[in-house]
Symmetry: C2
Subunit: 472 residues, 2 copies
Amino acid sequence: MSFTGSIDYFSLETPLFLSSLLPLLATTNADLAPAILNGVLLSLVVIYLASKIGSEIAKYLNLSSVLGELVAGLVVGISALHLLVFPDSGLDGSSSIVMQLLQFVNPLDPVVLDRVFAAQSEVISVLAELGVIILLFEIGLESDLRQLKQVGAQAAVVACTGVLVPFVLGTGGLMLLFNVSAIPAVFAGAALTATSIGITSKVLSELGQLKSSEGQIILGAAIIDDVLGIIVLAVVAGLAKTGSIDAMNVIYLIISATVFLVGSVLIGGFFNRSFVTIVDRLKTRGNIITTAIVFAFMMAFLANALHLEAILGAFAAGLVLDETDARNELDELIKPIADLFVPIFFVTVGARADLSGLNPAIESNRAGLVIAGFLIVVAIVGKVVTGWVVFGQPGINRLAIGAGMIPRGEVGLVFAGIGAASGAIDKPLQAAIIIMVIFTTLMAPPLLQIAFGKPDEPPTATAIKSTSDPVN
Amino acid sequence: MSFTGSIDYFSLETPLFLSSLLPLLATTNADLAPAILNGVLLSLVVIYLASKIGSEIAKYLNLSSVLGELVAGLVVGISALHLLVFPDSGLDGSSSIVMQLLQFVNPLDPVVLDRVFAAQSEVISVLAELGVIILLFEIGLESDLRQLKQVGAQAAVVACTGVLVPFVLGTGGLMLLFNVSAIPAVFAGAALTATSIGITSKVLSELGQLKSSEGQIILGAAIIDDVLGIIVLAVVAGLAKTGSIDAMNVIYLIISATVFLVGSVLIGGFFNRSFVTIVDRLKTRGNIITTAIVFAFMMAFLANALHLEAILGAFAAGLVLDETDARNELDELIKPIADLFVPIFFVTVGARADLSGLNPAIESNRAGLVIAGFLIVVAIVGKVVTGWVVFGQPGINRLAIGAGMIPRGEVGLVFAGIGAASGAIDKPLQAAIIIMVIFTTLMAPPLLQIAFGKPDEPPTATAIKSTSDPVN
């Protein structure tokens, strides 16, 4: 009997005759709310069970728990069990096992079922986005601004190399070896550029390497890389649409990204003090966590509004609050919240990945598989080399840095989606990009683990001291 | 560039010509996802700022912080600032200040804007429902099953009295004094019956009275009352639709409610042990909180699936886990999660309440206002008397029990909504019910505070011992 569910937008479109097909109370809009809530509850139960089983098995096998959650997502998602599927996969509500269970406990008309399916999928999608926002906020809290600044130059070099090399190798290779024409080749090359911060940072955190110099270079490079990826996307999408590059848009993005990142760090010093003052003045429950989350969400909103990524804002917010006295308490308070939100992100990333293109027995898959193989090689080589451009850091683990840049995650999929939607790339090439993304995402956690050696080793947080300012 | 947002269901309905009106990337469905995410982020920032400002002012004035959050909701919602409005209020996206801000940072076509508005409202609505589920889970954790069992008989008497008296007085009064015909009178009478567990339990928790005998009687009565409310709703809705009572449905609801509540308590003893065993075996982060939330959400799903309320399941889950060794740790872990989710519920309850019907200068409001005055008197008298039916508890605070049963909250609004949608009640009567709900919800927190005396007093948790089994 909750009245919080609002589904009025359905009412305009649901044909009147449907009302008579529905049970007793179906004449009011509020009646879909329990079904949507139930869909969300059941999906979350599936996500949490999958994430726990996946991460526990991974832990038992001494693998990264992120890998466990991604694979668990593959198992419950579109590729296998269909427990957790999304409308953008092309499936309708009746293909989702969660929706079938809802049907079982409370029969719904097929049209209504699809509405419920769409609405609950939308909610889970936003929860997943909030999950990666909270993850990056937590990563920001675990990071150290001074350390990040110290490795800034190295991170920038790594980021630029890691964008240029895969782009040139990918675009050139597709044109020369596979006779792909220029625009689709540029699209696929661009899809090879941007590293997934979420996956890399979480694995670094698990390995206790977030504060090592390698970890800070990877993190800094992934952040810069993400901004470069947004710019590359704007360029490529403009190229696909109009055949020319929208220089103003590119300049706008470069300026807004710079202003945002530099601005966050500069105002950070000011906000540090006001944060503690505000928190101390508040007398009601949740003073620290609510203030922190408001700041994180506002920064995420700002970044998103500037056409950057929400996660950049959340990361900057975490970096700023890491400098305050409330840091330790905040670290403890954010943990259960992250434990609740972050698995939604990783499991849905896995659940959305469609492995059906990987079956070589199907004739139509083969063209995509061959290209995919090429893209995977470029994706790995193009990022691994970045470890060797790091300067002034003798004894640094170069393989680890290269490995940390490998996962493409969500960004590559956005390229594939936009490329396909605009008609710039054909189906085999799109499938190849998706396979490359899945492969690099799944291989990065174990590769990072190998590159860093045993996870039981103490984190090399002191390694950076060799080059750091003695004043610190 | 997140790809987790899925809004494919829009694509089937968006006319093709719109695509050309939209900016560069608008040809793919994934492009609404950043706007929806931004709407959610901005709405959450509004909710958290409102809840903190409201609860801090309330605290300063020595009032309940729930009252502060409800009033803050009124201020940001449909009645005043229009920062947080919902499509079911009849407003479209352009009336929402949050959506205007989104428009400002990223212009959207009006049709697309309404889609974004609908989707973000849906997400906030579900988050609010998750909020009250988590609140009741936390209340369950704070409650004591043995104490609840001890006051079970008194709670049942209070609940039944609190359903019968307002129903008879309300229905009879409307028919005799206002010449309302039978079916609308029965509807309004039914809307007077069910107490809002969420508001009452949160205020009790704030006052440190959740474990007093008064608190446990109120809580137990509110739970039973909620189940009775569901049965009354089924009866009344059937009556309005077919003119007769669907006896099978009523029997089904009574049986499923009884089986669910008794079953939860019985299996509780078994699950207690397995919970601790499972938690101890899990080696990855979030072992306690994820297992607890999976249990809570599964119970909420079950209750919802049985046509009971999700919050009943969450409360039962909390009660069961309160008996385990992990209780203290769980109490700490659930707090930041509750701090994040629960304010969404209280602020949206306030934001959805439309006070425009309260203006007596508007001619058409007057009929509703007179009836509302009558309903408010019945709503208060009908629940306050329940304090005096408590037996075998000498010295108990009877006024506090009566006051605790007063808030009607969401349940009354559901009655008003279903009654209006089915044509059983007219607009003035609907407005009167809504005003009664707003009034009882807002007056209950300060009234409870007055009835219990100063909030600084130590909780009278030991008061129950006078009648308790000496073996305990």
